[in-house]
């Protein structure tokens, strides 16, 4: 009942953010040109130490007192345990990390894996974006639920620390559809509540907060970090990726000293992420078909996305008029409406004046493991690769089918085409599951590359993409 649903939701709320920033040679402050994204030097790090920190360290330092967490979620599924975890963490679900705070209260916090790990079948794939997390609910509801079992002054203080933060960000992180992620908006909301110099929290916003209708994003896979010279779809995250990622710890960080403690191992975590490789396709691949698909890939995909597995990858941002996908996200990043947040980063320990510098377009990502990352486009608006390659057949309204099953033929999760927009669906549970591509930022248009391929060629290309 309450247990798994609540804690899953809480995890989603807690662990969201991961952003990067820096800027580049754009003529305007906090802007980059479309086109080539130049390389940025990254701090060296130890991948093994990075994994250890990723799954054990308290970089999100507030959360639910352990006793209350266990009352709500007394058991951990075997399939949610992962290797390399210490102490209490060894028995916690992978998306949660425990640590003892200064008052001696053991806290359970969500970690990065809430959004950056997902299962295909029974296999947990670290680095795969979670495309089924539910950010449609008011997180304050979940925070209140978690408070039910909190007892005693120390536990109450710990819970209130976290609940205050949740109250602060709650208005800005509710998405319209289950599965899409509001991480960017969450990051802006946290900045609005923190002094950039001292990082001190303010219950009331210190600068104008972001929109209360976050633009949706699909969580990009970590294994592409090894190729990319800037982070995120608009390449807003430039410069030192490791420090920029630490915006993930900003939900709870209280001061610069605490930031420094986490920053000390951030480069290790980045090194671990950069060591990840795409998972192997777990089902059978028709080698003959795939071979026939290779030249199609070269002709249709390689120019923007790079030369396939093992091939070269060029970091290039393509302008909106070329790519044609939903422009809302890139426009919001570059129309000036977020400059106060880029200024915040420039004033903070998280970056400098070059850190946040988006381009007015979208990067063409490497296609390593593309078969695993459905749904597609930056907003997750297209349910599978087969429909991505048939732009006029993409569903306007759709939802994933339960139970969750991978569809080898279409390369994506099973889904169902629907006839109604969200506004026409009375039942809120059904409404929230419905992906409505007519909503702002949720559009399915653009990226029409490959639309002229014959059905046979599409089949061949899909088979080849499973090999990446």
């Amino acid at each position: 009942m309450i247990t798994r649903r609540a804690t899953t939701g809480l995890a989603a709320v807690l662990a969201l953010l991961l952003m990067g920033a820096c800027r580049e040679e754009g003529e305007t402050a906090h802007r980059s040109e479309t086109g080539l994204v130049p390389e940025a030097t990254q701090r060296p790090g130890n991948p093994d130490a990075g994994y250890d920190a990723l799954v054990n360290a308290p970089y999100v330092s507030c959360g639910i007192p352990y006793d209350a967490f266990r009352r709500l979620s007394p058991e951990t599924d075997e399939g949610d345990l992962i290797a390399g975890r210490d102490g209490l963490n060894a028995d916690l679900p992978y998306a949660f990390t425990a640590h003892e705070n200064d008052d001696g209260v053991t806290i359970v916090s969500s970690n990065c894996l809430t959004c950056h790990a997902a299962k295909i079948g029974d296999d947990l794939i670290i680095g795969l974006g979670n495309e089924f997390a539910d950010f449609t609910q008011d997180p304050r509801r979940l925070a209140l639920q978690a408070g039910t079992y909190v007892r005693g002054a120390a536990e109450t203080a710990a819970w209130e620390h976290w609940a205050d933060r949740i109250d602060g960000i709650a208005p800005y992180i509710r998405t319209a559809t289950v599965g899409v992620n509001p991480a960017t908006n969450l990051t802006w909301a946290l900045m609005a509540h923190r002094d950039p110099v001292t990082l001190e929290w303010s219950d009331t916003p210190l600068i104008d907060p972001p929109s209360t209708e976050p633009l949706p994003i699909s969580v990009p896979p970590w294994w592409n970090m090894r190729h990319k010279t800037a982070m995120f779809y608009t390449t807003v995250g430039r410069g030192d990726h490791a420090t920029f990622m630490l915006l993930a710890s900003m939900l709870c960080v209280e001061n610069v000293e605490e930031f420094r403690e986490v920053d000390a191992y951030a480069a290790d975590i980045r090194a671990y992420l950069a060591s990840l490789e795409a998972p192997e396709y777990p089902f059978e691949i028709d080698a003959e078909l795939a071979q026939a698909g290779a030249p199609i890939y070269e002709g249709e995909c390689a120019a923007c996305h790079g030369g396939g597995k093992g091939g070269s990858y060029t970091n290039r941002v393509y302008p909106l008029e070329d790519i044609g996908t939903d422009p809302a996200y890139a426009l919001a990043a570059t129309d000036g409406s977020r400059d106060r947040f880029y200024d915040w980063i420039a004033s903070s320990p998280y970056g400098d004046s070059d850190s946040a510098a988006p381009a007015a377009g979208y990067i063409a990502p490497p296609l390593d493991g593309i078969w695993a990352t459905a749904p597609y486009l930056h907003n997750g608006s297209v349910p599978n690769l087969a429909t991505l390659l048939r732009p006029d057949q993409r569903p306007a309204f759709w939802h994933h089918l339960a139970p969750r099953e991978y569809d080898e033929a279409t390369v994506g999760w099973r889904h169902e085409r629907l006839d109604e927009a969200q506004a026409e669906v009375e039942n809120s549970a059904n409404r929230r599951q419905l992906y409505d591509t007519t909503l702002t930022g949720y559009g399915k248009g653009g990226h029409r590359f490959g639309e002229d391929l014959s059905p046979a060629e599409v089949k061949q290309l899909l088979e080849y993409l499973k090999m990446l």
Binding site: M1, I2, R4, R5, R71, P74, L144, Q145
Partner: protein, 385 residues
């Protein structure tokens, strides 16, 4: 817009659980007809608090596995659960016109898990029973309050053979009435005695549907009530309606940073409604609303903040301290209801103080005028040090 059944019920069950336990830590104050004598009551409450503090740390295994509601069995005790509650509110009218609102609640707290208790002396305190009985009489809501505690050992207990849960001379007998899904209630205070048969008129609402639920239960949103109420001056044949909540599992003990308010309404058009407001005590923060609206045919619609608006119509400074929002306006699609406190002071106090008192309801439901009765329970409004 309606909300999903699962999340709303999930919240409701926790809230009811917390409210349920809080209910057992109180006694009435500022009430001329209170039956309690402060000395022994305070002593017993302290002892009970001590025991319950122990119960809170007892290692009961969490409930596991799927369950489906089974009646009348689930009216009975669930020994594997750390705690459980039986809660009834009823609104009655006598053939001669007198009105009564009542609340009767039982709770059972496990101190020692049953498998361990079986190997101990029968005199070992392995569970505690608590009961609380409120009757508000007439339009002024004159109150009668009684509470009981027991360590079991014969003075309180449960018997699946006779389908009875008892606490001193109070009891709930289940498997009664048509369909065997009803219950019979008997309880008494110094100035009031009830003997009532409650028979469900709508399907039970189950509150948990996930295998990992650690708290389980169900509500019966409308039961038809018939029976008798005796006061020092008279005996009344009464009839009316009732709402029943049953919970068992990991029911939280009183305390903590969260407060709950609960309004339960029974309307003249056959509609029943329950609204729970969940808040942080003493903090601004958001409050959440979770409700269920059950139409005459028993169809339930689950409502959350998007579908419910509450406006406080009256805040009242209670004798004994605390300022309570005692009258509410509740609005949503198709309904606009005013619930006005119908008793002067319903502040109750034992360990956790609260307001628990009847409301009179007027308003509109689907465009038609309705009236009704209800009970409002408010927690966490006390003066903070």
């Amino acid at each position: 817009m309606m909300a999903a059944r699962g999340p709303v019920l999930a919240i409701m069950i926790l809230a009811i659980a917390a409210l349920g336990t809080a209910t057992f830590f109180m006694r009435s104050t500022g009430d001329a007809t209170t039956d309690n004598s402060p000395g022994p009551a305070q002593a017993s409450s302290t002892a009970v608090a001590t025991f319950l503090a122990g119960a809170a740390t007892t290692e009961f295994e969490p409930l596991r596995g799927e369950w489906t509601l089974s009646l009348p069995r689930d009216h009975g005790a669930h020994l594997e659960a750390r705690a459980e509650t039986w809660s009834v509110t009823a609104h009655l009218v006598a053939a001669t016109g007198e009105t009564f609102d009542l609340s009767l609640s039982f709770a059972r707290y496990g101190i020692i898990p049953p498998n361990e208790a079986a190997e101990m002396s029968p005199w070992t305190v392995s569970e505690i029973y608590a009961g609380q009985f409120l009757v508000f009489e007439g339009s002024e809501g004159t109150g009668h309050t009684e509470h009981r505690f027991s360590r079991g050992a014969g003075t309180a207990g449960h018997d699946p053979e006779t389908k009875e849960i008892w606490l001193d001379e109070w009891n709930i007998v289940y498997g009664e009435g048509a369909g065997d899904e009803g219950i019979r209630l008997r309880a008494s205070g110094v100035n009031v005695l009830i003997d009532l048969l409650l028979e469900p008129r709508k399907p039970a609402l189950t509150a948990s549907d996930e295998a990992t639920a650690t708290t389980r239960g169900f509500s019966m949103p409308r039961l038809a009530v018939s029976g008798a109420i005796r006061t020092p001056s008279d005996e009344f044949d009464v009839s009316g309606t009732a709402w029943l909540d049953r919970l068992w599992g990991d029911v939280p003990v009183p305390g903590g940073p969260i407060a709950y308010d609960r309004l339960t309404l029974q309307l003249s058009d056959g509609t029943d409604m329950s609204v729970i407001q969940t808040r942080r005590i003493g903090r601004a923060g958001a409050a959440t609303l979770d409700g269920v609206l059950v139409d005459e045919a028993g169809r339930a619609a689950y409502l959350d903040n998007d579908a419910l608006q509450i406006e406080v119509l009256e805040e009242r400074r209670a004798i004994g301290g605390g300022s309570y929002p005692v009258s509410w306006q509740v609005r949503g699609e198709g309904f606009d209801l005013t619930a006005t406190a119908s008793t002067e002071n319903a502040r109750q106090e034992f360990i956790a103080p609260m307001w628990l008192g009847p409301v009179a309801v007027e308003g509109e439901m689907d465009g038609a005028a309705v009236r009704g009765s209800g009970m409002l329970l408010l927690t966490g409004y006390e003066d903070r040090p």
